[in-house]
Amino acid sequence: MRLEARFKWLPTPFRSLLLFTVWLLLNNSVSAGHIILATILAIVIPLITYRFRTKQPLIIKPWRAFTHLLLVLYDIITANVEVAIKILGPTKKLRPGFVLVPLDIDQAMPITILASTVSLTPGTVSAEVYPWPESVKSGEKPERKYLLIHVLDLTDEQALIDTIKSRYEAPLKEIFEC
């Protein structure tokens, strides 16, 4: 896990790239003027703002992140169709439930991504992360974190936990190496 970037003048290379692309997309053009402006913004904005942000783990394996993104996008489509069928089907047959998923990752950023993925994919919405930060005393080693999720139609609790852990959490662990 690495928290600091290598370059002083480009503290957050990915954010710079993101700003550059977003500026060009917003203006819907690739003319020279906009490219120069985007480059200036992409360098200056991170330089001004990087002191304010809390340090997050960097993406170590960008290619793995890209393939994981494609997998998640595919899962979003299939999960949507699944949930649509469940919504249109008889409501009485649904078995809603809360499930606790033990987490192996403990950084804020990967957990946020995992919770968002869980919310967008298989009939689940993430509800809470335990333990609450205020209940952990400072200096104390935090205990294991749990993600509380609400499931629309719960059939096999253990199978669901295993799927989430192997399909969504393991790649994140690999990408951030934490």
Binding site: I76, I87, T121, V125, H150, L154
Partner: protein
Amino acid sequence: MSEWIISILLLLGGAFVLIGSIGLVKMPDFFMRLHGPTKATTLGMACLLTSAMVYFSTTTDGVSVKEILISIFLLLTAPISGYMLIKSAIHHRLPSNEKTTGKDKIKK
């Protein structure tokens, strides 16, 4: 050809948004209602935005890619707002459907 793609995407997107809204009305408790808007509506909006992208790319000069940005921002914000809603619901101890299993897992 492009007209066909636009029509199919519009119909598909409209259908998904409609199903999401039906879920909002039909489900028995707050927690189950959240599932419609967080999922079905996201994909529906993505379909509608893609059709807008195809439409403006074929009828006007140049390619229109702004819609990709809107889709990305929607994908980023939908789970966060869903999370905030369900978190506040838990803190307000909203009643959940009597069939709900694992209610004891919510820490008070």
